[in-house]
């Protein structure tokens, strides 16, 4: 019987090729898009799953609420925190501190010099807590003593050519010598914290520049804790207030407004958008994952609705077959089986085609997202089970309504070409489905327009700083600062180079935040971000002044005795005329100097547009420069001048790899990931718009085909073609308007929610809504005019015979 069903299904598809193509194309594109998004979501939700104790591991997050920056969640903590948590809370089984080794710029063994990105200080407990496979060395002792380093297999190979030769060898990290005490297995790619080299935390503790680690005043380390059971989190968090009172608030110059909580390890990658200073190598965006999930479901829904619509619309053509099968003894059940198996067959074909589409699209998607997604039919069980489940769900979802609808036909009427179902339910259904299709189309079109404008806004917004025509070179070590001045002069010889300035980083600010105290009786305190820049930085980066002046070489007091603030700081401090005001002290500056505000720069975005511009204070303090920014004239051929810069660099710093950071790349890097994901989102949303338009076209065509008889009768009675067409258009436009009224408010609300995540975003305008509705109305209008006109123009005799 199944064979008979499938034969009929296949031949029926082949006979109505155009609808089969609409159905198959729609369904396979829909499935392919759904599966591509599923691969992305599977990737995003699959982070840190290699950690056996994942459920019991937590990252300590602080909520700081100091005046100035306002409430902020940060994932960096104090040096003594880990040990104290372990000592004070019985639920804390273990704790580990991890800290990026920003102080080590270059790693050297024999003739090999590299800058390492995955270089961290860590406590020995990391091995046990993160179940790291140690291939050589003893996990208990490898990171116990100072000046020990553990390498990943990959890193050992890079420096020593073989993992066997590395253990016990000595290598230079910065200026100090470390002994390789272990080799660990390379980490899987899906980890929020990717480390290639682990240096014993005791090394840092033994060094004078890390003296601050011993106190509770500074934050710089990531602390993870392992609890006895996941539920203990509540108890530990409840005890935090007393814990902080005991250790932190008791300190004289410590924190005043501080809370702490434990963030589950499973949330660290995806759900950390609200956390600053994360020091992670990878972070995702939960909202984007949700948005993608919604769009994936919508795409599938649109594809299924298309399928259902076309099946029902075609049912009139198939009613004779249904009637005859009933006459010959088919009961409802066997007809339901028949139509579901038809839908299964079609879905199966669509799935096969969709796999082809996926194979075609994956290289592009991988290129865009810099990922390595691939279809794996043997290893990716979850995906394969999902694929099979999808096959059944789509078959049932799309097949069941037509199946039950068609099988209800009364045989006698069905043989005469009608449904025999009372009440004209199919008429209402068709209209309902048209409205639904339009709703989805309008909603999606609206979303595409708004998101597209937001992406463009971010791309084109004036950042207040010119991340263009400049390049940043990172110093290899602290001593390099001394050699900076002579190098600067050599650079400036070249006419293509506009300016050279030492600084914390390209964006002018450092990673550090801290309090500034105003020199007034109220002891006003403001938490600000510090920037260390020299005389030419603001010129080099095109940052303009709102008031006052820049640092001046000829004024000696500017070196540490003067500060420049941004407008945000002036606003927070309530200063209308900041120039001339004084602070009591500024981090890293001599407190006796009472630094004076000499200038106010216009606010510029030193981070992404997601966050507001925070108060910043700039100090001319060469000791804290981390590199040099070189401003170029805009017409300069960057490649040529780079060669010149590199030669000078190597003359001065022979052991430090030349790794320039281009300002343009840094700027786009801030949004690169976001931009790519938004582009992807727009692609997929456009696909679903196209799918729903395709469905609408198919459905309209079929519905108008069914009206052929009415059109014929009207024509016989003397109705004009245009009058008939106009009536059809009027009927449809009413549905379009209803759909618009239903879809717009809902979509508006959802889009507002998304946009509000950006500190800087566009406003949704009437234009977006009008454009969404109008563009779809025009498309629907043209479809109807084309189809209706064709039907109306046909010879009425033909139209009547057709029925």
């Amino acid at each position: 019987m199944i064979l008979n069903f499938l034969t009929t299904a296949l031949r029926s598809l082949l006979r109505q090729k155009s609808y089969a193509i609409i159905n198959l194309a729609g369904l396979s594109v829909g499935i392919a898009s759904f599966l591509l998004i599923a691969l992305y979501i599977q990737h995003e939700t699959g982070f840190d799953k290699h950690l056996d104790k994942r459920d019991r591991l937590f990252r300590v997050v602080e909520i700081q609420n100091e005046p100035g920056v306002g409430e902020q969640h940060v994932a960096i903590t104090m040096g003594p925190l880990a040990a104290s948590l372990k000592a004070d809370f019985p639920q804390v089984v273990d704790a580990v501190r991890i800290m990026p080794a920003f102080d080590i710029q270059v790693v050297n063994y024999e003739d090999k010099y590299f800058r390492e990105k995955g270089l961290y200080y860590a406590d020995p407990s990391i091995f046990n807590m993160f179940n790291i496979d140690m291939l050589q060395g003893n996990p208990k002792t490898a990171l116990l003593e100072p000046m020990k380093v553990v390498l990943s297999e990959k890193t050992a190979l890079k420096y020593f050519g073989s993992t066997d030769k590395a253990l016990g060898k000595s290598m230079l990290l910065g200026k100090r010598s470390f002994i390789v005490s272990g080799i660990i297995k390379d980490q899987p790619a899906q980890t929020h914290l990717f480390y290639d080299m682990l240096v014993s935390m005791s090394s840092a503790e033994s060094l004078p520049e890390f003296e601050w680690m011993k106190g509770w005043g500074s934050n710089s380390l990531i602390t993870y804790v392992e609890l006895d059971r996941p539920e203990s989190r509540v108890n530990v968090e409840a005890g935090m207030v007393d814990f902080l009172k005991k250790h932190v608030f008791s300190e004289d110059d410590g924190w005043e407004y501080l809370e702490m909580y434990l963030q589950p390890m499973k949330d660290v990658y995806l759900d950390s958008g609200h956390i600053k200073f994360q020091n992670v190598t990878a972070s995702g965006d939960k909202n984007l994952v949700i948005a993608f999930t919604v769009i994936a479901i919508l795409i599938l829904l649109v594809a299924c609705v298309n399928f259902i619509n076309i099946s029902i619309a075609r049912s009139v053509k198939r009613s004779r077959e249904v009637g005859m099968r009933k006459v010959l003894g088919a009961d409802r059940q066997s007809l339901v089986y028949q139509f579901i198996s038809e839908s299964f067959l079609l879905t199966l074909v669509a799935v096969v085609i969709s796999v082809g589409f996926i194979e075609l699209a994956l290289p592009e998607m991988n290129k865009l997202l810099a990922t390595d997604f691939h279809l794996d039919f043997t290893g990716n069980y979850l995906f394969n089970i999902g694929l099979i489940a999808l096959l059944f769900i789509i078959s049932l979802a799309s097949g069941s309504y037509p199946a039950f609808y068609l099988s209800r036909f009364q045989p006698v009427r069905a043989l005469n070409g009608g449904s025999g179902i009372k009440g004209g339910s199919a008429g209402y259904l068709s209209k309902g489905l048209v409205v639904f299709q339009f709703m989805i189309s309008v909603g999606l079109m609206f979303s595409v327009l708004v998101i597209n404008d937001q992406v463009r806004y971010i791309r084109e917004k004036d950042m207040g700083i010119t991340y263009r025509d400049a390049v940043f070179l990172n110093f290899g070590s602290g001593e390099d600062v001394q050699k900076f001045e002579p190098m600067r002069n050599e650079f400036l010889v070249d006419p293509r180079i506009k300016s050279v300035a030492g600084c914390s980083f390209l964006n002018g600010v450092s990673g550090s935040q801290g309090p500034v105290f105003v020199d007034d009786s109220a002891k006003t305190k403001l938490t600000v971000r510090f920037g260390y820049v020299d005389y030419d930085f603001f010129d080099a980066m095109g940052v303009s002044f709102a008031a006052g002046r820049n640092f001046d070489r000829n004024i000696t007091s500017d070196k540490g005795g003067s500060v420049i603030i941004n407008q945000a700081a002036a606003r927070k401090l309530g200063w209308r005329n900041p120039v001339g005001k004084r602070f009591n002290s500024v981090m890293g500056a001599d407190t006796s100097l009472k630094p004076e505000v000499i200038g106010v720069i216009n606010d510029y975005h030193y981070f992404s547009l997601r966050s507001l511009i925070e108060p910043a204070v700039y100090v001319m303090n060469p000791e804290r420069f981390r590199g040099v920014v070189i401003g170029l004239y805009s017409h300069t051929n960057q490649q040529e001048v780079m060669k010149f810069i590199e030669d000078i660099w190597h003359d001065h710093f022979p052991g430090t790899p030349f790794q320039p950071v281009l300002a343009s790349e840094f700027a786009s890097g801030n949004y690169k990931n976001e931009q790519k994901l938004f582009s992807l989102f727009i692609y997929f949303t456009s696909i679903s718009v196209l799918l729903s338009l395709l469905g609408l076209f198919g459905l309209t065509s079929l519905l108008i085909e069914q009206k052929t008889k009415i059109i014929g009768i009207r024509r016989v009675l003397g109705g004009s073609v245009w009058r008939i067409t106009a009536q059809l258009i009027r009927d449809y436009m009413i549905l379009v308007v209803i759909a618009g009224l239903l879809a717009l408010p809902l979509t508006y609300y959802l889009l507002e929610q998304q946009l509000n995540q950006f500190a800087y975003h566009i406003d949704i305008s009437m234009f977006h809504m009008m454009y969404a509705v109008l563009s779809l109305t025009v498309i629907a209008f043209l479809t109807i005019v084309y189809k209706a006109h064709r039907a109306a123009k046909a010879n009425p005799v033909e139209s009547l015979k057709y029925e």
């Binding site: 019987m1 008979n4 006979r15 004779r320 077959e321 006459v327 045989p411 043989l415």
Partner: protein, 233 residues
């Protein structure tokens, strides 16, 4: 074999009520060939649909093979139908997506017959209707006469007790029409009961009895002479 008592069928819409059959009572014996005649709209097809268990009467009783079936559910009707009744329609009603062989095979599939049995039965029916050479063809590739022969083959393949024919020659030219009528006559001679709705006096000649309907009522029932004696159940 068939007995109806005061069979009535009323079609109701919101505003109009149409009595298609009005207290129709008659009997048909096993092996009879009965023609139902009358003008358009007199209720011929409605009667045939009720007799074929495609529709239920509004009132009255209908005994088929001794069982009162007028209140049967759709499932019961489908079951009784597939085991006992074959249909031949004016417009053939072959399924366009299935070839000749598959169309004829369909009733046997719904009877749940094994594939080897089906093969034998289909081959024999095709042979009987002399259409074996067209077995791989699709309905649209056949002439009207050939399509109706396929329809008859499909009607007889399950060896039904009763064949209902609704204007079987209505869409055929006279030569093909005669061919189909001869087929039905020979089936009747083989013992199959046949009830045929027709407009054609010529086709009615093949029947042993003609029931004449007018406005949903039987106005005349005549047994024709010169044909076989009526067998008695």
């Amino acid at each position: 074999m068939i007995k109806t008592v005061n069979l009535t069928k009323i079609f109701r819409t919101d505003e109009v009520e149409t009595t298609a059959l009005n207290r129709v009572s008659f009997e048909i014996q096993k092996g009879e060939f009965v023609a139902i005649m009358g003008p358009s709209g007199c209720g011929k097809s409605t009667l045939l649909n009720i007799l074929g268990l495609l529709d239920n009467p509004t009132e009255g009783e209908y005994y088929f093979l001794g069982k009162e079936v007028s209140k049967f559910s759709e499932k019961q009707r489908a079951n009784t139908r597939k085991q006992n009744i074959g249909f031949v329609f004016q417009n053939f009603n072959l399924i366009d997506e299935l070839n000749v062989y598959e169309n004829v095979e369909l009733p046997l599939i719904y009877l749940g017959m094994s594939s080897s049995d089906r093969k034998k039965r289909v081959e024999s029916a095709l042979e009987q209707m002399q259409i074996t050479h067209r077995r791989k063809h699709f309905p649209l590739q056949l002439s009207g006469g050939q399509q109706q022969r396929v329809a008859v083959a499909r009607a007889v393949v399950a060896n039904p007790h009763l064949i209902l024919a609704d204007e079987p020659t209505g869409n055929l030219d006279s030569a093909h029409g005669e061919e189909v009528m001869n087929l039905l006559a020979s089936l009747n001679q083989g013992g199959t009961t046949i009830i045929m709705v027709t407009h054609s006096q010529r086709d009615a000649e093949y029947a042993q009895r003609v029931i004449r309907l007018f406005d949903g009522q039987i106005i005349n029932e005549n047994i024709k002479s010169g044909r076989a004696e009526l067998p008695v159940i």
